[in-house]
């Protein structure tokens, strides 16, 4: 029940296209959903995050869509650029243990943007 399932494992998108990565969860106590971006040889860094009081959050070319009833959330990258090529991780956390929360990460999606 603590798992976050992420798909696809790898994704190739043409420059200028839309990249879509999906995640699903079971634990209904999850109420914080961040996405992390990781470049080769580096640690992950927060890209964008959403809480379930909204169904969508947009920051520049990056959008999180959240479907509470389906227990799914997704990352959309509009106008994908070669510089977006990286591994993306979704994650989730709950407020059940205030001050002691841990993030549960998905297995990652390796995104490659081709010219």
């Amino acid at each position: 029940q603590q798992q976050v399932k992420q798909s696809p494992q790898s994704l190739i998108v043409q420059k200028g296209g839309i990249s879509i990565i999906n995640c699903a969860y079971e634990n209904t106590a999850f109420d914080y959903f961040p996405w992390y971006q990781q470049f080769p040889g580096k640690g992950p860094a927060l890209l964008i995050a959403i809480r379930p009081d909204v169904s969508e959050k947009k920051e520049g070319r990056f959008t999180i869509s959240f479907n509470k009833s389906a227990k799914q959330f997704s990352l959309h990258i509009m106008d994908s650029q070669p510089g977006d090529s990286a591994t993306y991780f979704c994650a989730a956390s709950s407020g059940a243990n205030f001050g002691n929360e841990k993030l549960t990460f998905g297995t990652g999606t390796r995104l490659t943007i081709i010219p």
Binding site: Q6, Q9, D31, Y32, P34, Y36, G41, K42, G43, P44, A45, L46, A49, F89, S93, S94, G95, N97, F98, G99, N100, E101, K102, L103, F105, G106, T107, G108
Partner: protein
């Protein structure tokens, strides 16, 4: 500004040898500290986390241990490495007392790649 340092960046060790990976955070006080392991196709696995000096919680039983001798120092150790300990180890921190969910962000170091032969 806050920074996180992790070393060594790469390490090649024989089976049965000891391990010590170090992580320090600067520019903040009372951080929550974490050790993650990243294996291909398996995402980020939380190994240990700490909310204060000497306070360590283990997430999975394994051949590794962690210690926090100072507020902003976190050490990952092993007495005898196994082949299965190979991987990319990441130290991370978040704002203390309020947790990563309220803080909104987990800050990762650059990682340590361990190869056990």
């Amino acid at each position: 500004s806050q920074t996180i340092h992790q070393w060594p960046a790469t390490l090649v060790q024989p089976v049965g040898s000891p391990l010590s990976l170090e992580c320090t955070v600067e520019g903040t006080s009372n951080p929550n500290l974490y050790w993650y392991r990243q294996a291909a196709g398996r995402g980020l696995q939380l190994l240990f986390y700490s909310v204060g000096i000497g306070q360590i919680s283990s997430e999975v039983p394994q051949n590794l241990s962690a210690s926090r001798p100072q507020d902003r120092q976190f050490i990952l150790s092993s007495k005898k490495l196994l082949l299965s300990d190979s991987g990319f180890y990441l130290c991370a921190w978040s704002e203390g007392l309020i947790g990563v969910r309220e803080a909104g962000e987990l800050f990762f170091g650059e990682g340590s790649r361990l190869t056990v032969l």
